[in-house]
Every structure is written in C-alpha cells, then in structure tokens.
Symmetry: C2
Subunit: 259 residues, 2 copies
C-alpha cells in the first residue's frame, strides 16, 4: 500500500490542520468491490482489472491533481471523499463535484484531455484503489463494459456540475449547507463528519461567517451538532426537508445512470 505524498505547502493550512484531526483510518483494508463502479463491472472484467489495482491511503488535504497538471492514475475511492474545486484568480473558489465510492477521479484520462481545469482534493481520509494510466487505457480500449460504465458515470458527473451551477445561482447558503452535509454523509459509514466551517465555506464559495450562521440555525433546530470541526448529523430527514431540490435531482440521476 502506498501513501500519496505531495508537497503540502501549496495548500491552505486549513487542510493540514484537518488532516491532523481526522486520520482515523479503518484498521481493516477494504476491497475494491467497495467502489461502486468497480463493483458494477462483470466478473471477468473486474478480475482482469484487479491485478493492476493498487491500494493507496488518501489523507485529508492530499491533492490528486492541480489545474493543468497531468494525472497518471485513475482513482477509485472505497471510503474517502474527494472534491473537485474550481478556483478563480482572486482566490475565490467553489466545489463543482464531490466524489466518493460511487465514482472515480481522473476522467480526463479516458476522456482524452490529459489535464483538467480544476483541482482534486481529498476531503475525508480513507482508501482508494488506483491504476496507472497505460494499464488502464489498455483495459479501457479492450472491452466495452468498462468504457460504457465510465461514460455513464461521467454523464452523472456532468449532471452534478450542471446542478451545482444552478444551485449557486438560486439557492441560499443554508440550503447549500444541507446539500453539502448530505453529500458527505452519503459517502461515509457514520453520520459524523470532520470539517470546519471554514472548510465548508471554501467548498461552497461563501464566507465562513455565513456558514457559521447557517450551521447555527441547523443546530438550534436540532438537526446537527457541531463542535470545532466535528459535525454530527442528528436528524437526516430534517436535513432532507430543508435541502434544495438539487440534492435529490443529482442523486436520482446517479441512481438512474449507474444502477
């Protein structure tokens, strides 16, 4: 197993900090079947891919790629969460997609672009399986199931991005906070997250104070409990009642395309 190393200097201290908070990795190593895409492959193709898959530990704050940077692996998370962040010149940024065990990081490899215009950042520690580009492309070109599965997945990702664009325009910080919380706990085994309000603000592209206020309301309503970077979801139905439609639209589209 490999631990991804990156010069951590370029990333905000936020994440360095956060990685100290939560590196409680599960003691048992996961199986590649825990990634839903890999799991959706027919046995024969899964078996053929398996020897090329390498288990890697994903730590909070790890950067899988930067804008314009070549990526050499496709990653299939089993229990970590990665977010695709799009940054602008003045320092602002927004998350355009959240990826967990339902998906893969590195679509640019099979889409043919070579690089992306955004950054992939590990939000929540865990494991992923990865495969080297040449090996992957070999398998990708050889059989249809992998190709068509990944293309459908990419379309689901497109739906997520489009919905994010609309959501950014039309919905309030409070609603988007709900959406973001649900997106995270959907991809985690427990109902506890480890992210500071400042980090959430970065994801949503809003002020930290805005998140404080919105989170305060959710806590007052008894939907969540948070304290210094630890958020516990107490009432999931309550969150779903407050979230904007965007959450369900995207979720339905993922289900439709991948099940």
């Amino acid at each position: 197993m490999i631990n991804i190393q990156r010069p951590s200097a370029r990333q905000n201290q936020l994440l360095a900090r956060q990685s100290q908070l939560l590196n409680t990795l599960p003691s048992t190593e996961p199986s590649a079947r825990q990634n839903q895409l890999l799991n959706a492959l027919p046995s024969i193709e899964y078996e053929r891919l398996l020897p090329h898959l390498e288990l890697v530990q994903m730590n909070c704050g790890d950067i899988l790629y930067e804008p314009g940077e070549k990526l050499h692996f496709v990653y299939f998370p089993t229990d970590c969460i990665v977010s695709q962040l799009h940054a602008i010149k003045d320092g602002g940024s927004s998350e355009v997609a959240v990826i967990g065990n339902e998906g893969a990081i590195g679509i640019t490899l099979f889409m043919g672009g070579g690089t992306m215009t955004n950054r992939a950042l590990v939000q929540s520690a865990g494991y992923a399986y990865r495969i080297r580009q040449p090996l992957f492309m070999q398998e990708f070109d050889r059989h249809d199931a992998l190709l068509h599965l990944l293309l459908r997945y990419t379309q689901a990702l497109i739906a997520q991005m489009a919905q994010t664009a609309v959501c950014n325009r039309h919905h309030s910080v409070g609603q988007q906070l709900c959406r973001r919380l649900l997106l995270s706990i959907d991809r985690l085994p427990s109902n506890e997250l480890t992210m500071t309000q400042e980090l959430i603000a970065n994801m949503l592209g809003v002020r930290r104070e805005g998140v404080t206020e919105a989170a305060g309301k959710l806590q007052q309503a008894g939907l969540i409990h948070y304290s210094r970077g630890h958020i516990k979801v107490l009432d999931r139905p309550g969150l779903e009642a407050r979230v904007c439609e965007c959450y369900h639209v995207v979720k339905n589209e993922f289900d439709r395309l991948l099940h």
Copy 2:
C-alpha cells in the same frame, strides 16, 4: 431539409416572439464542414458519416429535448446557437452551456445515459446537421476517431459547466452579461445578436431589470448598442476587458482540447 417542429406552447412567449424577430436565415445552404467537430474528423470517417447527415433548419425557440426526454438525433450546428438550460421547481433557471458550430447537442446518446436532466433550446436560428441514433452509434462504435473526438469535446463541455458554476457564485451580473455576449458573437458571423434583455436574464438566471442596468452601463460606455431585442457589439476588446476570466478559461480549454 427538415424543419424541426415542436408544440411551441410549452415554451415562454419570449421565444415565440423572438422567433418572429429573427428568422433571417442565410440563403445558401451550409456545408457539414462548417461544424468544427465534423471538420476535425479524418476524411475517410467524415465521408462515411456524410450520407447519414441530414440538414435541418433550427428556429429560435425550438426545443431539442426536455429533461428526461429521449433524444433520437445528435445535432451538429453549423451556424445556430443552442443553449442547455437547467431549470428548478420554482421556475428559475440558468444556462449551463452554450453550443454552436464548435460542438454538438446530444452527448447523452454516446455517453449512454439516454436522457439529460436539462433542456436544449435554440437561441439563434440557423442550420444544423443531424444523424439518427442507430446510424450514429454504428459509426461511433466502429471507429476511434469519432469516439475520441467526441469525448474530448465532452470534456470541454464539462469545463464550461464547471466554470459556469464558479461564475454564478463569484461574478457580477455585469461581468456575466459580457461573457454571455461574447459567447454568442463567437458563434455568429456578424457582431449583431437578436435577444431581448428578458431572454438574457433567463439565461443568466437573474432579473430582467438587472440585465437592463448592466446593459445600460455597457451602452453608456460605448461597448454595445441595443434596441428592443437587437444588440450590436461595437467594441469587442472593450467587452473582453470587462468580462470575467471565466470566458477566457473556457475558450482556452476548448482550443486546447479540440485543435
């Protein structure tokens, strides 16, 4: 040649109105080579596709597909503009992508999803070539050039959507108006557009009054001239100086991926 018919009732009167304004179609029929994707194909594959391509007239307000609706053609615009609109329940909407002769409508067909979650609407009249799904898939599966070209195009489209999400969060109506105007004239032969402020407001997902104000400033600055649905761009460099970076980022990504 075929004229796309749709029950126009479902669409705002805006577009019905607009289609009256601008149906000044060019008198000479275009060539499929005017679509940049088709033009990028090697001759052999282009020739093989050609007999299946059917010229259709695209009128303002035509709807190519609605959310969840099956699409039976892939469209390759030569000189029309189509926008992908994402709507939400309360009636609000935002444009997530603009497609002209650099692209294609109907990626869902080769991505394998069958349907999209948004609507494709003709914004500016013109022509497109289209090909029926079974014929298209036949060609698509047969040779690599078409597949890889369309996948790279799809990645460019993804970049556009991601940037739209960020832009919606961080940039002002004025900047977004500039972006939208540039996107349009890039895809048209002249520097004149035919769209009312209300229609632009629909695209951007903002109020009509907001567009009036922003457009007023641009006119005062001598960058554009507009009058009742006709907009003439007088100073393109001026617009580029005001537009947010999003415009250039997306443009560069298209160039990188498709040239």
